[in-house]
Amino acid sequence: MTTIYEQRPGLSRRELLKRGTIGAALIITGKAVISPDRAWGMEAAALKPETMATLIKLARDIYPHDSVPDRFYAIAVKGHDTKAAGDAAHKELIEAGVADLDKRAGAGGYRGLGWEDDRVAILRDIEATPFFQAVRGDLVVSFYNQKELWPHFGYEGESYSKGGYIARGFDDIEWL
């Protein structure tokens, strides 16, 4: 099972600094990917933790929302790890796809490329591949279908239990 947990105890700040961060943010230790502020961590079951970290970066490059924290991208891609655990072909698709991204990026790998534009240029070259299609096609649902994320977009979701909007601003526009 892929597990995501918040406020993971354990590693000291000092240890984290020692292990270092790859790219700008995420920390990889053992089978886990941990956010630098340790607000959340994700344990990988089938895919390499480095692969999960790259998937999180890739997810943000595909759907960049700068004020949305990494946690939502991590939740959105964890399905690939879960699926890979029971599906060898999917595991190969993802691992090979990420390895290809790293190869195209050169020394330092995909996460080592500092500018989004440089990473996106690689993605434009591979956007027709089954790997990219699988990641993007899953992500458009797994990312945007997170209810906790809807307030970021100003979307209020379910409204029946609140009696609809008849008394809650369906016609409240004032600037027109």
Partner: protein
């Protein structure tokens, strides 16, 4: 109390499908004392069980049986196994529809006469006139409680409508209002009024929007003359040596095959499943499928010329609040070839939630061009284009050459390519839609491609001559007297209007005809 009929009862009318056509026809016949069995492929989900969540609702209601697509339409690339966004449940797509209920215009019944021969199009006049249908349109509007008809007040406009109206006024459009909607603006017919909840596409949890699920069907059942069998997926229709249909073979809820005898069979499975069923019912006597002497079964598939325009404003709109289809501009619905195309189109407000906006705004899109649009979701307004598309023989629902469903029947393969007229109309509508929003200060707008089809039409079309189409002016097949088509697949041409009101109108009229012919002993 709902009547249970015996499988060997050969006096019943069997209706396949319980949506706008089948559900209405079933009730109308039952009200006349005729025994009816409605076979519905989907489950019975009552309205309190509908879900205010786009993907969860989609999983609950959508028709997700395996289908394939082909042709030049973008849907085939973006959603290769989802040609249509329609419903598999009791009530059919009347659970999902937005509620827009517009009569066809007089000239639209005579498309060939009025538009002339259009290269590459298979245009034909309906064997009907608006005048013939008017009394039935009146009955349908009354039945459905259509706003702005019969003295029924219009719905109040939400924020999305207010923007549309302000833009339409600036462009000089004259016919912009909150629509003729089969959504209660006040309590009516024991159903409550619209609570501006949004989620019209996910099934109205108040029952304020008309659906056969909680109007026609329970009313029919109350007569004791109508039985609805959910989870009954029809496999084929069989006939006797004289070519009269005799029984319908279906898989029941456990997957076991059953055979229901019938005096008359009415097919109302929407424009993909209805022709598929006729084609899959091929026999020695009818090697090309039932009612297919014209070769037109499955042909002339129409889906309306659609598309959307979304626009971003400086300040919040919250367009998802309230009725999904909250207003309309009708000025472009006229036939005016000076615009560079024949036929016309309507502009109707539309809103999607974040999950579906992400899936449909620019299918396959990604990167900052996409996400900066999504980041402005709360400041968006939106409209949907619905216009007349050209029937073309090559646009068709075919049987897949290899793939079969779990009952061993070939699955449908849905082919569609825009006609040049469709493209010209859509581009015109994109320009007008964007102009409406720019007139009221849009900072950015998006000409969004068509979604999987909700308006599926024309695949068993109505014609004067048996050689031109599948059914006559009553929806009775030219070839088999006791076989009828009762859904939008009868449409000879698509017109610019949302089809449900006309499907209901034709079903009411067809019920009169069936009752009259049964009484006369001709069928």
């Amino acid at each position: 109390m709902a009547a249970p009929y015996d499988l060997n009862d050969d006096s019943v009318v069997v209706i396949i499908g319980s949506g706008a056509g089948g559900g209405t026809l079933g009730n109308e016949l039952a009200q006349k004392g005729i025994d009816v069995v409605v076979l519905e492929a989907g489950a019975r989900i009552e309205y309190e069980d509908f879900i205010n969540d786009e993907w969860d609702s989609f999983a609950q209601l959508a028709w997700l049986d395996h289908r394939t697509t082909g042709g030049g339409w973008r849907v085939s690339k973006d959603f290769p196994n989802l040609p249509a966004w329609i419903v598999k449940a009791v009530g059919g797509t009347t659970t999902h529809w937005a509620g827009a209920s517009l009569r066809f215009q007089e000239h639209e019944f005579k498309a060939l006469t009025n538009y002339g021969k259009v290269e590459g199009a298979n245009l034909l006049d309906w064997p009907l006139t608006l005048a013939e249908l008017e009394p039935y349109y009146t009955k349908a509007e009354d039945k459905m409680g259509v706003t702005r008809t019969h003295g029924i007040e219009g719905l109040p406009g939400n924020n999305n409508f207010k923007i549309l109206k302000a833009g339409a006024d600036k462009l000089g459009y004259k016919e912009c209002h909150t629509g003729r909607m089969a959504i209660n603006s006040a309590e009516r017919d024991d159903r409550m009024s619209c609570q501006q909840t949004g989620f019209c596409f996910q099934g109205c949890k108040w029952g304020a929007k008309w659906s056969t699920l909680y109007t026609e069907i329970p009313k029919g059942e109350a007569t004791g003359k109508l039985e609805v069998r959910p989870n009954s997926h029809v496999i084929r229709i069989e006939h006797d040596a004289d070519g009269k249909v005799t029984n319908v073979v279906y898989a029941d809820k456990d997957g076991n095959l059953q055979s229901q005898k019938a005096r008359i069979v009415c097919v109302a499975g929407n424009s993909i499943e209805s022709p598929r069923l006729l084609l899959n019912s091929a026999s020695n006597l009818f090697p090309d499928g039932l009612a297919n002497s014209s070769g037109q079964v499955g042909k002339n598939y129409m889906r309306h010329t659609t598309g959307s325009v979304y626009a971003v404003f400086e300040k919040p709109v919250h367009f998802y609040r309230g009725t999904t289809m909250a207003g309309i501009v009708q000025d472009e619905a006229r036939h005016d070839p000076s615009r560079g195309f024949v036929g016309g189109y309507e502009l109707e407000t539309l809103a999607l939630g974040v999950p579906f906006m992400a899936a449909f705004l620019d299918p396959g899109g990604w990167g900052r061009a996409f996400t900066s649009a999504m980041d402005n979701y709360a400041n968006m307004a939106g409209l949907w284009i619905v216009g007349e598309d050209m029937p073309q023989e090559s646009n068709a629902v075919k049987l897949h050459a290899e793939l079969k469903d779990k009952y061993g029947m070939p699955i449908p393969d849905v082919w569609f390519t825009d006609h040049a007229n469709d493209v010209a109309m859509r581009n015109h509508a994109y320009r007008q839609g964007q102009a409406i929003y720019e007139a009221v200060g849009a900072t950015r707008s998006f000409p969004t491609p068509p979604y999987p089809s909700t308006h599926n039409l024309g695949t068993n079309r109505m014609s004067e001559k048996a050689s031109d189409g599948v059914v006559n002016k009553w929806g009775q097949t030219h070839d088999i007297k006791n076989l009828f088509v009762s859904d939008g697949s009868q449409f000879t041409t698509g017109a610019a209007e949302n089809p449900t009101l006309t499907i209901v109108t034709l079903a009411i009229r067809q019920a009169d005809y069936i009752a009259q012919e049964m009484a006369a002993g001709t069928i």
